[in-house]
Symmetry: C2
Subunit: 162 residues, 2 copies
DNA sequence: CAGTATCCATAAAGATACTG
DNA sequence: CAGTATCTTTATGGATACTG
């Protein structure tokens, strides 16, 4: 029953391309502290010390993680200056960072529903008030159950002349 | 422009609950090798040595990761016996494991579109042939852009008697 | 094929102190 | 507030050898 099998996914597609996007993603943002920093960034945190405090890691770890995430393009450093203070930087999500959030919310949803906790925290679609969840959807608007999900290697892009 | 802000998410909801599902999820399945094992499991791999070979980790790491994932309920060990061979175990996805796949595919999609690679690998909705991607969707069927996503703390569940 | 055990290198994180 | 630097502990993983 829980066994998924079959050739929906072309196994060789990975090796054909050589490198797996999942592996690369884990390499740039796959640490627990990185994930929690992304959560905080989405949440509106921008200051170094706030990240350290809210994620619960040391400044050294905060520094390392923040630098890596900026380097990877998920966050960007923006200068700001409070009245009477020196200029500082704040860390804000880039578009790539925003695009990363489905990863974070997928983890949230899985943990919420499959790990012991009171489950009272819910993702919500603010305008309509309904609960929200992470789904796989196709370009024709279908919700894609895992059994119908495949992987393909698209042909090299070419100019439309020929 | 890339700055997300505002109180869409009740910041204190995390602390009110005490523990973050994202953090817990990272704790049980947040290692790169665990993520890749999940990819392989979805992909149809069930044998110990195949996991080791395809994920590219040692048997020791495979053993540790597989045990943790079974312990966490993402995989289950099923006995099988090939003709003339002794009984062995194979590792297959449980329902919780299947439910975890959006995390994996969200990483795939992010890496595919935001990290340097040829981007030729695509998730596909097999029945209709269209490309698929990970989205946040609400129970009313709306696609939820990140700006409309919130978090709430639902009241304790009670019997419907009163 | 399906593991377990051991030893070693590396990397990540906590504690703490210091700088502007 | 916003970091950097250092030191130590722990976690992770590779290499390798051994068992059923």
């Amino acid at each position: 029953m829980p066994v998924l099998q079959g050739p929906l996914v072309d196994r060789d597609a990975w090796s054909a391309v050589g490198e797996c996007p999942i592996e690369k993603t884990m390499a740039v943002a796959g640490q627990k502290s990185a994930m929690l920093i992304m959560r905080e960034a989405y949440y509106g945190t921008t200051r170094f010390d706030d990240f350290a405090k809210r994620v619960g890691i040391t400044k050294a770890a905060t520094s390392a993680r923040l630098s890596e995430l900026v380097e990877a393009g998920l966050l960007t450093k923006q200068p700001y200056r409070e009245p009477g203070q020196r200029a500082r930087d704040e860390y804000v999500l880039t578009q790539a960072g925003v695009d990363f959030m489905p990863v974070v919310w997928a983890m949230f949803e899985w943990g919420r529903s499959h790990l012991p906790n009171n489950g009272r925290l819910r993702l919500t679609h603010v305008p309509c008030g309904a609960d929200a969840h992470v789904e796989i959807v196709c370009d024709n608007g279908h919700s894609v159950p895992l059994e119908e999900l495949g992987m393909r290697l698209v042909p090299q892009k070419r100019p439309e002349s020929g």
